[in-house]
């Protein structure tokens, strides 16, 4: 962890009435820095904010948005809740697995994509839905997925 990042995390300390509140903002900083919540980084956060490691870990394991392992450049999160499932999300997940040649929870060998499923993304009206990093892709079909992946691979 660079000095700069450390200072950024330290500066969070005075911002909230309870230091514990600073855990999430600190995670965002760490996430932007290393792309995932690495154990060393979390230990450093616990040290800097003077919060027991186990409390930091508690938050990290609760918020699935923060990956705990190294991820690809693009994290594909496909919703597998009821509305999306009824609209064919299961088949799309299978299609993605086939196309990327990985299983859910894995990363492509080129380090470009990580495939995962996610609980409701709050967009049932446009199901099936997936999220790539911070962008939503709605009313998915196989063709749409082909286009999206092609576009992303070229970037």
């Amino acid at each position: 962890m660079t000095k700069e990042i450390e200072e950024k995390i330290l500066s969070l300390k005075g911002k909230f009435p309870k230091v514990k509140t600073a855990i999430l903002p600190a995670f965002h900083i760490l996430y932007q820095e290393s792309g995932y919540l690495d154990p060393e980084g979390m230990e450093k956060i616990s040290e800097l904010l003077e919060i027991p490691l186990m409390e930091v870990y508690e938050v990290a394991s609760f918020y699935t948005y923060f990956p705990s392992e190294k991820t690809g450049k693009y994290i594909i999160r496909v919703c597998d809740n009821l509305s999306c499932l009824l609209s064919g999300a299961e088949k799309l997940i299978g299609y993605l697995e086939e196309k990327l040649k990985i299983k859910v929870g894995q990363m492509t060998p080129d380090g470009l994509f990580t495939l995962s499923t996610v609980e409701c993304l709050g967009s049932c009206g446009t199901a099936p839905v997936m999220m790539v990093n911070e962008d939503y892709y709605e009313n998915l079909t196989r063709e749409k997925i082909d286009q999206i992946l092609e576009k992303l691979s070229k970037k």
Binding site: L53, M54, Y57, E58, S61
Partner: protein, 843 residues
């Protein structure tokens, strides 16, 4: 105190009840004996609202609020048991049970099954379902019973979690866990050990330390608080897992360190099956450490306990009767000249035992040659330590302190009750500083951790003293090749804080007790304490060190702390005891024993001073366990352990505490005082006609203040009044400067302090082997790599005065260039630190 206008009435189930502001609905209901089922609520923990069993209806409030989290308000109308609540509650309970094996809760055969579980068969057959060891002591069972739940309408889901049995002392079966969070809250709120947490979320939630580390690695203190609060069978103690319900409970005093925690002995079938902390606001306040909570059961029940007296003839054990044993002992002692007799008694013994032992030595034999192992433990620093003990503060001063300075104190496994008190003080805004050469549990929470290189701690303390004297002259910084850090700035800051602090307290642990410069260290601590007007509390590892001093168990000390050179007192005692006491001359003592001075008769009560036969013609070994084979004791007498006798201890504060008998001693074992009295009577000596410890206390109360029964029950703190001084030998040789080349490492050694009557706990307690290992050399990973040493290698450590072999344990906690050895209790290599070199064995 609540003001009158904070008190109002509420209506629960039609009853008009008085309530005060700040209470929850559950608290008011419990006060008035209205039953609301709960699983996650606990009287000592903050409300959690997790189990949803305590839902109630409150008029004007939406839905079903939980009684444990909703504060009462004036005029509230609360209903706890309407048909609708019953229906919802039943549904919630079923949902909880859908992830819990429920054959012991809901089963058509339940009643009959219980009745016939005890069926006599020729082979071991388990009748009934055995998923969980808490059958009959389970809060979940109680709730199911009270709500009369008869069936579960959900499919039962078994989580298939691995039962965790790897850590010592308790097993964890999270398949039985209902996620009430009590263990987490007790770990965070009361113990502040911060080991446990909820991991993951939703249906994947489990309890455990971060990153699936073992409890041992995660900093667990193994205090067992989580096991005590668990409402189900998820957490269970290994030693008494299948023992079932207890029959009786006796409160007594733990003898495993000088805090003197009050413990409840759980008894069943004439056996101690467990221990729990007693609610004692004066001492441990419902808390215990791993030793008191988990080690005692195994310690007193081990099948190796001595049950019959025996003597050895040419290495062959011959069991004899007590009559023969007493006769033999009396014969040998009678035939022995007074100057050739020596008695060594453990400071783990009760005041009554200690008093009788010294009376036996002085009045029955006419010698002052009685001693304890404490002399060897404290060495040259004994007098200085005694001075500190005279200033002992109270344990309750810790939580009220505004600044806590810990010197050589680690509160993870031993003295963890002190750790809880320190954290209470921190919560109130106190500041914590710690001086310790190695990583220790307080370092994580301390504002500043001063880490002296072994040998420089006295410089740090002297600098503190000098700074506090306003001379503003810091001691010259010690020049040493091992120096890691200099602390000049921090020290002056610390002194300023100590001076300004409203109520500072200094706690002295045992790290520096066995250092070459320990006399100067204690002296500096005493001066500092006086200069900054702090309180001080030394926490010796020997539980009844205070009592051994007051009862006169040393050649230099008479009962009551009088000096043995005081002729008037000697005359007084001679008259009292009806025997002319000899004038004091410094003859034999424990140090001389180790130096090899030969005796005719050596009487060891609860002491194992050496690993081999000590120099004496005839050795009487009186203990709860047999000596090692190489020890070759001539006569072995079985004693009773503290759970089997009545008596008193004095803790480090100076509080007299009762030891109460819970069970009968195993076999023919007897209390120490009784054996001594019988030998004295056999020898024809008068003044040993005691039939119980009460009579001994009566005699004691004439000689020592605070010893009559009424005063003991008041449990006041008596300051140590001791006029005697120990004759101490000079400590070991200084490290030669030029040796630094040959001996590139600095070694500190500590002999294991987790002992009872001379034996390390790890010898008799399975779980303690993982926690308190002996014969271990701790080494920094980089040092180990350079020296080609890997984990568990045998390492030969050479110094100018010794060569020893220990097993390596690679530890990041150990600073570079510095080694630490954990010694067996009878292993002595002289005071710390030592300059050494190391090499791998067979390399």
């Amino acid at each position: 105190m609540s003001k009158p206008n904070d008190t109002f009435t509420v209506n629960i189930d039609g009853q008009i009840l008085l309530a005060s502001k700040g209470l929850t609905i559950l608290q008011v209901a419990e006060e008035n004996h209205i039953y609301i089922p709960t699983l996650c609520a606990h009287k000592d923990l903050t409300p959690f609202g997790g189990c949803r069993m305590c839902i109630v209806e409150v008029e004007g409030m939406r839905g079903f609020p939980t009684a444990c989290t909703t504060p009462v308000e004036e005029g509230m109308i609360i209903r706890t048991d309407t048909a609708q609540i019953q229906k919802v509650r039943m549904e919630i309970l079923q949902l909880i049970l859908s992830e819990h094996t429920s054959s012991c809760l809901i089963c058509e055969e339940k009643e009959e099954c219980r009745e016939f579980q005890g069926t006599i068969r020729k082979v071991g057959v388990t009748t009934g379902c055995r998923y969980c060891s808490k059958d009959g002591q389970c809060e979940l069972q109680e709730v199911v019973e009270k709500l009369r739940l008869r069936q579960i309408n959900y499919p039962i889901y078994y989580r298939h979690l691995r039962v965790e049995k790897d850590d010592p002392f308790y097993d964890r079966d999270y398949n039985l866990c209902i996620l009430c969070g009590r263990c987490i809250r007790v770990c965070q709120e009361i113990r502040t050990a911060n080991t446990l947490t909820f991991k993951q979320r939703g249906c994947y939630t489990v309890i455990g330390p971060a990153y699936d580390r073992s409890h041992l690695d995660a900093g667990c203190e193994f205090c067992g608080a989580c096991v005590s609060v668990c409402p189900t069978g998820a957490l269970s103690e290994k030693t008494n897992k299948w023992e079932g319900e207890i029959e009786q409970k006796t409160t007594t005093t733990c003898p495993l360190c000088s805090i003197g925690c009050q413990i409840g002995l759980l008894l069943k079938g004439g056996k101690v099956i467990g221990t729990l902390p007693a609610e004692d606001p004066l001492v441990n306040n419902g808390q215990l450490c791993v030793k008191g909570r988990f080690c005692i059961t195994e310690l007193v029940n081990n099948f190796h306990r001595l049950k019959k007296p025996y003597r050895t003839h040419d290495g062959i054990k011959v069991e004899i009767s007590w009559q023969e044993a007493i006769k033999l002992a009396a014969e040998k002692i009678s035939a022995c000249p007074a100057e050739d007799f020596g008695l060594l008694i453990s400071p783990n013994c009760s005041n009554e035992d200690l008093y009788i032992a010294q009376k036996f030595t002085r009045a029955a034999i006419g010698s002052h040659q009685i001693d304890t192992s404490a002399r060897v433990f404290y060495g040259a620093g004994f007098n200085a330590y005694l001075d500190l003990m005279k200033m002992s503060a109270s344990l309750s001063d810790i939580k009220n302190a505004s600044l806590v300075l810990c010197i050589g104190l680690d509160t993870r496994f031993g003295r963890s009750v002190i750790g809880v008190e320190i954290r209470k003080a921190l919560k109130k805004g106190a500041r914590l500083f710690t001086i310790h050469p190695r990583e220790h549990n307080l370092a994580l929470i301390a504002e500043k951790w001063l880490q002296p290189v072994p040998g420089t701690e006295v410089d740090i303390l002297n600098t503190l003293v000098n700074l506090s004297e306003e001379k503003r002259k810091a001691a010259p910084p010690a020049k040493s090749k091992w120096r890691i850090k200099s602390y000049e700035d921090e020290l002056s800051g610390l002194v300023e804080m100590l001076k300004k602090a409203y109520s500072p307290i200094i706690l002295l642990g045992s790290e520096f007790l066995q250092y070459k410069e320990s006399p100067q260290i204690y002296e500096a601590v005493r001066k500092l304490t006086q200069k900054v007007k702090a309180k001080v509390l030394p926490l010796p590892p020997q539980n009844n060190l205070f009592g051994s001093i007051l009862s006169g168990s040393y050649p230099e000390l008479l009962p009551g702390g009088f000096s043995s050179t005081e002729e008037q007192r000697l005359k007084y005692l001679s008259k009292k005891w009806g025997k002319n006491l000899p004038a004091f001359s410094s003859g034999w003592n424990a140090e001389k024993l180790l130096a090899g001075t030969k005796l005719k008769v050596l009487y060891l009560i609860g002491e194992v001073p050496t690993g081999f036969r000590p120099p004496a013609d005839f050795i009487i070994f009186q203990n709860i366990y047999p000596p090692a084979p190489f020890f070759e004791a001539d006569l072995v007498l079985p004693s009773a352990a503290f759970t089997e006798v009545e008596g008193t201890y004095i803790n480090s504060e100076g509080r007299i505490q009762r030891v109460r008998k819970g069970v009968e001693p195993p076999g023919e074992a007897l209390p120490d005082w009784e054996i001594l009295c019988r030998i004295a009577q056999e020898m024809g000596r008068k003044g040993f006609e005691f039939s119980n410890p009460c009579e001994i206390r009566e005699e004691l109360s004439n000689l020592i203040k605070g010893f009559d029964e009424r005063e003991i029950d008041e449990r006041k703190i008596n300051p140590l009044i001791c006029e005697g001084k120990f004759v101490v030998s000079r400590s070991g040789l200084p490290i030669k400067k030029k040796d630094a080349k040959n001996f590139p490492f600095l070694l500190t050694a500590s002999s294991v302090e987790d002992t009872y009557r001379g034996f390390p706990l790890s010898l008799w307690v399975e779980g303690a082997k993982k926690l308190f290992a002996e014969g271990i050399l701790e080494i920094n990973p980089e040092d180990a790599q350079k020296s080609g040493i890997s984990q568990d290698d045998e390492v030969i450590v050479t110094a100018s005065s010794f060569e020893e072999t220990w097993r390596a344990r690679i530890s990041k906690e150990q600073p570079q260039g510095i080694l630490h050895a954990r010694l067996f209790p009878f292993e002595k290599i002289g005071p710390n630190p030592h300059a050494v070199r190391i090499r791998k064995k067979n390399a």
